[in-house]
């Protein structure tokens, strides 16, 4: 590829990498069938991973969000780790036992309220001394909505317009206090300077917000924004709103292509080529020698996908129980259930496409002579996102990413909790530091500083709150809300 060493003319590689860790808590990649596997819920696991990551100078510690327990054929899914705590609650506790690492909460825009979510993220940002971030996700289905007051109110097609209006409202809330608004000492006339806090209003299709934000800006001004959407719409959303993309493109060529695409979209959105960082999701299986690493990989895979997981994997796509089938035998000869029901929600595939997919898979397995276990293992190998090898080997590969600027770093999902980062921090990080592609100290005390992000431009102001003002301010607020809605429409 002609662009393989130059992702975009306007983009200058920093030559550096950052690492993040994603403590997933719910997934099939986390090994639990060994004695070393610790609790997915107890605080000590979170403390251990976060403190190890901080020892390795990681930029960020990520947590996912649970809105409904995963299901399989209409009952809670039994085979994978589950039971993660609320992200921001766990991160607020981690803020007390860490000093530099960024604390990233995945939070959806559908079942949160903008004023409440922005306030809680501000709290995390202040309590961590400017280390908070929000990984923005959207969801739309009624299955998830069954746990919430509003139920399944949002159409799939509306999820990004909805999310964007939400994020813009949150930014206005975070930027509502003038810098220096808080009294410098007890002898000041007022706790906050008169007129230094703006009221934020938004009137949209899905929600209405009218709030005087309760908190000033943090040491990093406002929380850093991560986003993971990969569709063209999701990429444009990230290019307009996000600071970091949590991408799904870790392979070098693919990563370079993704960088080129994001730089283009970022420039089109009127931002600088370096303004949006990219950190793909990844898994690392490392050892002292290449051979040991390969052996370790085979062992990890066998623990990730056992016979029960293999059958369950097919059941997701077949939409029916397949317990009678031999995991070491051929793929099921019966056809998938084709209609989507509430019981199969959360499954992999639905409708007429399921039958087509089953035919295709049966043919593929037959041709390659694969059993159910072997086929599923191949399908779920995470080959795209796994870095396997000796410490030096993998450090060399990663240096190439730094040199070409394909990514700004990697967001690692450890396959073992809580010790899954130990070999990375003890062995890989020093190799990267020797190659000059990894920090040898934290650049600053805030996440924004550590990621090399610029100070954000203050969001479109709302209405300054006047002394003694009740609910009386009208004109400017309504104008602000209208302009906001207009800009969203124009971009969609």
């Amino acid at each position: 590829m002609s662009h393989s060493t130059h992702p975009a003319a306007e983009f200058t590689p920093s030559g550096q990498l950052q690492l993040g860790v994603f403590f997933q808590g719910v997934n099939s990649g986390t090994v639990w069938k060994t004695a070393e596997s610790g609790s997915q819920t107890d605080f000590e696991s979170f403390r251990r991973v976060a403190q190890t990551a901080e020892r390795g100078l990681f930029a960020a510690f990520f947590l996912g969000e649970g809105l409904r327990l995963r299901e399989h054929l209409g009952r809670p899914h039994a085979l994978d780790v589950a039971g993660r705590p609320d992200a921001q609650t766990a991160l607020a506790a981690l803020a007390a036992v860490t000093t530099r690492i960024g604390l990233v909460a995945t939070q959806n825009t559908t079942y949160n309220d903008p004023a409440d979510l922005a306030h809680r993220l501000s709290t995390l940002d202040l309590l961590s001394g400017g280390r908070a971030a929000w990984n923005i996700v959207t969801t739309d289905n009624a299955w998830t909505g069954a746990n919430f007051r509003r139920g399944g109110y949002l159409d799939h097609a509306d999820r990004y317009t909805h999310a964007e209006a939400f994020v813009e409202t949150a930014k206005r809330i975070w930027d509502a206090w003038e810098d220096g608004a808080v009294a410098g000492s007890a002898s000041a006339e007022r706790w906050s300077a008169e007129g230094a806090v703006r009221r934020v209003r938004h009137t949209g299709r899905h929600y209405t917000v009218d709030v005087t934000p309760r908190l000033p800006r943090s040491a990093q001004y406002r929380p850093v924004l991560f986003q993971a959407g990969d569709s063209p719409e999701g990429r444009d959303f990230a290019a307009r709103q996000a600071d970091v993309i949590f991408s799904a493109h870790p392979q070098l060529d693919d990563a370079l292509e993704f960088r080129r695409d994001i730089v283009e979209r970022t420039l089109r959105a009127g931002r600088g080529a370096q303004d949006v960082k990219i950190m793909p999701a990844s898994e690392f299986i490392l050892a002292a020698t290449p051979r040991e690493a390969l052996e370790k990989k085979a062992w990890v895979r066998s623990l990730q996908i056992g016979p029960q997981q293999a059958i369950a994997y097919l059941e997701q796509f077949w939409g029916r129980e397949l317990q009678g089938y031999d995991p070491d035998g051929p793929l099921p000869d019966i056809d998938p259930v084709v209609e989507e029901t509430s019981e199969t929600r959360g499954s992999g595939f639905h409708g007429a496409k399921a039958r087509q997919l089953a035919d295709q898979w049966r043919a593929e397995a037959k041709e390659k002579g694969l059993s159910i276990c072997q086929f599923v293992s191949a399908k779920t190998s995470r080959g795209d996102s796994t870095f396997t090898g000796s410490y030096t080997e993998v450090a060399d590969r990663l240096s190439e990413y730094a040199r070409t600027g394909a990514v700004d770093g990697f967001n690692i999902s450890p396959w073992l909790i809580p010790s899954g980062l130990d070999d990375i921090v003890n062995h890989l990080v020093p190799e990267l530091q020797e190659r000059g592609v990894y920090p040898t100290e934290y650049a600053g005390s805030t996440l924004r500083e550590n990621l090399g992000l610029a100070t954000p431009v203050r969001a479109n102001p709302g209405v300054a709150v006047e002394a003694g003002a009740g609910a009386g301010i009208e004109a400017a607020g309504a104008g602000g809300a209208g302009a906001d809605a207009g800009s969203v429409t124009a971009r969609a």
Partner: protein
Amino acid sequence: MSTHPAQDGPLGHGILLLELDGAGSHPAAWRVSRTAPAAVLGPEHLRGAVLAAESAGFHAVTFSDPGLPDPGHPDAAARLNALQRAAFAGPVTRSLALIPEVDTVYTEPFHIATQLASLDYVSGGRAGWLVAASPSAADAAAVGRDTVRGDRLSREAADSIEVSRRLWDSWEDDAVIRDVPTGRYLDVDKLHYIDAENSSYSVKGPSIIPRPPQGQLPVLAPAGLLPPEAIAAGAADALLVSAPTPELLAAELAATRAGLAAGGNGPALIAELDVVLDSRGQAAAERLAGLNGHTAWQSPRARFIGSAAGLTELLTEVLAWADGVRLHPAVLDTDLEELTQLVLPELRRRGLLAPTIPDATFRDQLGLARPASRYAAAPSAPGAEN
């Protein structure tokens, strides 16, 4: 709590709670605080405050969530989220129960239940929940909803508690089995849909997090907030009792006790008391007058203004009627110092206070046993019911 000292004596089970908001409970507290205004929002102030409360011998701290202030008022200060302050305090402390005030009207019950369960995990079973039901129009406008008033507030609070309690039970204690031979991490028969339905919404469940360490977090509510039938059904583990003056507290506690269903395990009663103490040669009344010169301290609570010795006498009397007292210090760093030096040691010497035990749960402090999950006896799995 199964007994109360007024009937059963001897004393020695009293618990003391301290409200930790901002620079103090008086709105003008920041004007005389040793903490710089902006520092009240930082981690070091919070760390220092909870450690000071713990080493002083308090049993619990509460984190108020006063809602949106009137931004035009000169004393309107910024506020951090209460639940996250409590979570931050979790790994910092060992014996202190951590009790955030969390609204039930404009919040998602599912989020509240999982956040509070998570707080119980990060504090090793020391979490509680102070239930609030916001009547504020500003809180309603912030989330684009209509203001809720009157009986609806009671209803919302009771409904939200019911959802949380069911969600906390929705994973039986031994639902995580890690059974390698069958490949099952979870025993699905021990996970339960809660199917909570009320007049406003429904919640399906189960929770996303296993049963909290305490099984059920102790729930505290202001007396009078919850409908009597909810109290009778065990919605609250403790009620906060207020009276207009200290002299009326004992009578109010007795009346509240009498109003509870006779027999059985009624909720514990915790008296509410604002406190301004003589300090560093300055009389309490003088201190209060100075603060009130900026903004009058309005509260529905009884207020003690005077010496540490006088407060000790009052608390000795009140603890004969109440299971605990929550103190609202006018100025945190000034009044906490007096409480620490003079009041708590004397109360402890008199044998009025329960011991503070590292790693004990909040339920332990309240003398509450750890309950079994309400679903533990259910014969069939949730999937089979549908």
